[in-house]
């Protein structure tokens, strides 16, 4: 059905895992988080040069941080330049919550990103939202840093 997408996601994750194992020994946990929001770049992909694909959230929160808003403004600028591109915002939660609540939380996070993109002129027609809850972590670790990477909304090209 959406094999290409699945393959692509799989590929992204492989890349993410490689990146992780490469830096796992060199970086300290605290250096990559502000509060409990992830500020590192290990898992981040780029939609275009200088346009990161994801934003991160605090535990149980869907509020966009200053850094997240900056990322989303870059995404909005890129989307305005490439007006035929449509996107899916994939909302995710960490594993420290019940499955059903996390589905709702992922949806809320992706919508926070969607709302912000819309205030920068991106039409809602070009944006769909998909929550994965805690079903698709990028980091399989059971520690605060891994969880911070997993609390995210990822902007994925849909066409």
């Amino acid at each position: 059905m959406k094999l290409s997408k699945i393959l692509k996601n799989g590929f992204l994750i492989v890349v993410a895992c490689l990146a992780l194992s490469a830096c796992a020994t060199s970086k300290k946990t605290t250096g990559q988080m502000q509060g409990d929001v992830y500020t590192g770049t290990d898992t981040v992909e780029y939609l275009a040069s200088g346009v990161p694909d994801r934003v991160f959230f605090a535990t149980n929160e869907s509020v966009l941080t200053t850094a997240s808003r900056e990322t989303l403004r870059k995404q909005a600028a890129w989307l305005r330049k490439n007006s035929k591109i449509t996107i899916v915002l994939e909302g995710h939660a960490d594993e420290r919550g019940t499955r059903e609540y996390n589905l709702a939380l992922g949806e809320r996070r992706a919508n926070a990103a969607k709302d912000y993109l819309m205030t920068y002129g991106i039409s809602s027609d070009r944006i769909s939202v998909l929550s994965y809850g805690k079903e698709r972590p990028v980091d399989s670790g059971s520690n605060p840093l891994a969880w911070s990477k997993n609390r995210r909304s990822v902007t994925v090209k849909a066409n």
Partner: protein
């Protein structure tokens, strides 16, 4: 559910006056009742017939083993070692020599007989009170030979009911999500099995993510969440025919489905624009009703067994807590006030308790509270566990537990576990693969 129905012919009326044996199920398994399960006797001709049909050398012993295992796993009984039995099964079934059974400290004894009658499996069994020297119950069933495992479960249910005074939960099935693969790309399939882990069958192929299957209390329908075509929606599945359909026509994600106690409605959440609300859909007339109306996450709804109330969790207070409302959405009351975050409320089939998941100081608990929130009791603590589902008699909870991975992110597993309402008898429920999101069926017979 024709395929699963069993012809139940009760030919012997139980003779019960009074009995000395009684199993108290309210206190836990500190003193499981010593019980002797004598292998069901079988004549040679019947034995050969069943060996041909079922490829089991001695179907009488096989059925007894099922009964024995069920009784043991319940935690309330201690089935005694067969090596110590002095009386032959066929003679014991006619009239036990109670002194012999007393000698090995059996307080109760199960005997029985299997025969091949007109291509059917006929089983009779008796339950004896060893100390009083009395027959407590005698029943017989006739069914198709393939139902032999179910006969073992039904015998256990009858014995459990006679000795505890409450319905059993052995002739039941579990639907759950079978999981495989790395944590970052889990492949998930719907699977169904007997309560004891036998007859495991996968119902989906794993092409799309599936979550949270739940049984209809009155039929063979199951409701669950599927990511078919990357559109997370609540589906209905007929486990007998394999027919599937989307529930309702919602412009967004529907999730957290459950049936109403009469099986006629589905209650679920619908997420739109960052807000999840609870809806119901009537399966007959397809009428959709919005039940909650609040700009917070409202999810994990579960009806009370009389259908008059709904429990759910909401983060309207800032964090996830458990609420109860009338089934029309009025009279919303928060009931969880302990320290921590509360989710997945599930109303007991007995109506008096709500089981839940709680997260407090980095630990997950399965617990129960009364329906007004009082009397909170935590049954088990772990790194991660959630989603309790009640046995149909409201005495056992099944849930799933995930392990903490090591520093390299390895060592992840998800398993099904059960625990008695007493907080005792915690056990892993065997599954061929990893498993999560279990849902317990109603009793298949009676």
């Amino acid at each position: 559910m024709k395929k699963f129905l069993i012809t139940l012919i009760i030919i012997l009326i139980p003779v019960k006056s009074f009995s000395l044996i009684e199993v108290d199920i309210t206190r836990g398994n500190l003193n499981p009742l010593p019980i002797a399960v004598s292998p069901l006797s079988i004549d040679e001709e019947s034995r050969k017939n069943f060996e041909n049909i079922l490829k089991k050398k001695n179907i009488g012993s096989e059925i007894s083993s099922i009964v024995e295992n069920n009784l043991k796993v319940s935690g309330l009984f201690n089935p005694l070692n067969k090596d110590a039995f002095l009386q032959e099964p066929d003679i014991a079934n006619l009239k036990p020599r109670f002194e012999d059974w007393n000698l090995i400290k059996a307080q109760a004894l199960i005997t029985g007989k299997v025969s091949y009658v007109e291509e059917k499996l006929r089983v009779e069994f008796r339950l004896w009170d060893v100390l009083a020297g009395k027959e407590m119950m005698a029943l017989a069933f006739t069914t198709v030979p393939n139902n032999w495992r179910r006969v073992g479960h039904i015998i256990t249910d009858k014995v459990y009911e006679r000795l505890t005074g409450e319905k059993g939960y052995f002739d039941t099935r579990i639907i759950y999500v079978a999981e495989e693969g790395p944590k970052t790309q889990r492949v998930k399939k719907l699977a169904i099995m007997d309560q004891d882990g036998a007859n495991n069958k996968f119902l989906t192929l794993g092409n799309e993510l599936v979550l949270t299957p739940r049984f209809n209390p009155t039929s063979q329908l199951v409701t669950y969440l599927s990511y078919f075509r990357n559109l997370p929606r609540v589906y209905l599945l007929d486990i007998e025919t394999g027919t599937q359909e989307v529930v309702g026509d919602f412009p967004g994600m529907t999730f957290a489905p459950r049936f109403s106690p009469d099986g006629k409605k589905i209650i679920m959440s619908f997420a739109k624009d960052g807000n999840s609300e609870i809806y119901t859909m009537d399966l007959e007339n397809r009428i959709v009703e919005k039940i909650t109306n609040h700009p917070s996450i409202d999810t994990s709804p579960s009806y009370s067994p009389d259908g008059k109330f709904i429990s759910f969790n909401s983060d309207r207070s800032g964090y996830q807590q458990i609420y109860v409302m009338k089934s029309d959405g009025s009279n919303v009351k928060r009931i969880s006030f302990g320290k921590g975050i509360y989710g997945t409320p599930v109303w007991s089939p007995r109506g008096d308790l709500i089981a839940f998941t709680k997260l407090h100081k980095g630990k997950f608990y399965i617990g129960v509270m009364r329906t007004d929130g009082s009397g909170e009791r935590l049954l088990t603590e772990n790194f991660y566990q959630e989603a309790p589902s009640w046995s149909p008699n409201g005495r056992v909870l099944i849930f799933y537990r995930e392990t903490k991975t090591d520093s390299k992110g390895k060592g992840f597993s998800a398993k099904l576990w059960s625990i008695d309402l007493t907080g005792y008898n915690e056990r892993q429920v065997p599954t061929p693969t990893d498993g999560s999101d279990p849902s317990w069926s109603s009793l298949l017979s009676n």
